[in-house]
Amino acid sequence: MQEKSNARVAITGGTSGLGLALVREFLNRGAQVAFVARGRERVERVAQQHPGTHGIAGDVAAKEDIYPIAVQIAGELGGLDVLINNASDLGPAPLALLGDTDCTDFERALATNVLGPFRLTKALLGALTAAARENGAAAVVNISSDAAASAYAGWGAYGTSKAALLHLTRIWNEEMAPEGVHFVSLDPGDMDTPMHALAVPGSDPAVLKRPETAACEVADAALAILAQGDRQ
């Protein structure tokens, strides 16, 4: 399924790995795309390489960055149909046992993987519900991991934060589905990305999933939610 869409889509962590693949995937499908990442220069470079996209420099883990990011997303796209909370922090790198994990690394993982998505979603909830009232549905996709469900030694900070994000997604969905905003967690699998290389150095890229493949699946899932709204 390669459905075209003129949806307004915002993607965090959009300058590398799955996020960058998502920017390209949605752009190829005709969507209006805004992406967020920390490094200003990299944001500008990716925006230049992908004309029509809106690059936004900001750190979703920083409370004071959230509303400036939300102003730009809602302002530049004129509203929002799909939010993809993709930016993630691994916690300690290399991976550490919990007993060896610095609290600051743990806090950073929670700030990026749980608090950031919560704050940004909350700031953009008005935009998402407005889109749902007009078009039948809006979607929030939170990028998850099998570490959210399984207890892997060495993945304490990341796994705990992703488990929290998974539950956050479920509760958001319970509360906001009546407003037409549907929340899903998607686990893209082990991909050939910078984060995976950080977590599992030296793994063979050939056995890993291509981020482009995962991006296609994520886009299909998000657009399927919007299409359900169209049919109502």
Partner: protein, 386 residues
Amino acid sequence: MTSASEPTQRPPDAKLLVIDKYGGMTHMRRTSFASLLLPGDLVVANDATALPASLRGVHAATGCPVEVRLAGHHSLDEMRDFTAVVFGAGDFRWRTEDRPAPPRLKPGDRLTLGPLSATIERLLDHPRLVDLHLDGSPDAIWAGLARHGRPIQYAYVPVALELWDAWPPIAARPVAFEPPSAGFALDWRLVEAIRARGAAFVTITHTAGISSTGDLELDRKLPFDEPYRISRSTAAAVESVGARGGRIIAIGTTVVRALEHAASPEGRVSAGDGLATQRIGPASRLRIVDAILTGVHEAGTSHHQLLEAFADAATLRRAEKELDAMGYRTHEFGDSVLIERKAPLRGAYELDPCLKAIGHPGERELLGARAGHAPVQVDGLPDAFD
């Protein structure tokens, strides 16, 4: 009346004065607003929020500090050309009427506004009011506003507002110049309660302008022309409510301004973009809106004048005494008033048997009373306030 000086959008003790169509008054908790609704009613809010429209900077020719307050534009999507009010030194901690004038401005003057820069395009028959053009791409302007701009605020709130203080929960687009603050009364729990009553909730987008310029002469020109957008789904909801005989409750003056501007003589509203240019006051005939939930506005403001389309001046004077006596707080973080559009004059009852059947002045036929949810006692605080 006292000003609400804390930037708390929904203080737990927020009060609501309900003024019914016969001028009867009731006090209640604002969180109980939904209990006034009947199945089939439609609540319409403004889903705009404020741009970070206050920009500190320097007038290049003189080196003088200035504060630019973006105050209007011609369309929701316009990001380069704005009408703006320019102040000299100082900030929001000064009362706007005490702010020094800006340096003498002339067309072509350059302003440096943090990461942004602008050119004065023309002067608008007042030393403080200009059209200005911001340099750069729309994305660069958004980024500059997001990082450098602050919410416009006034001296009665002494702490600097954060962007989230001026962002109502239902806000979808930062295209206004001040937040449509009646929407501060709403949260998701209240939206849920509105639906649970069998009423519907929709929004329009209206670029609420600034509420004060610090200059009486300039304030008399307020509100400036304000662009708005009405979505297809909202236009359809307004139409179907009219057909079913439900009531339309506007959350804030901006919603009244947009819906009444878009109204056809037959009382229909079409979807699309418009530019609200009209002034609404005692002589205005409301075609769409049946009641307004709004803040506590002081007499003499354009907001207050709009309320005279809903209730006569004598009723509003009585309301003001009531608000004063009960300690209601004014301004955007204050308490609220719900005003039902006044009933036709007594003589009209002779002509309209339907109206006669509903009731006549003197009967306490408040919003919601028909559904068995008569709100609390009249002329005194309900127990909840004790």
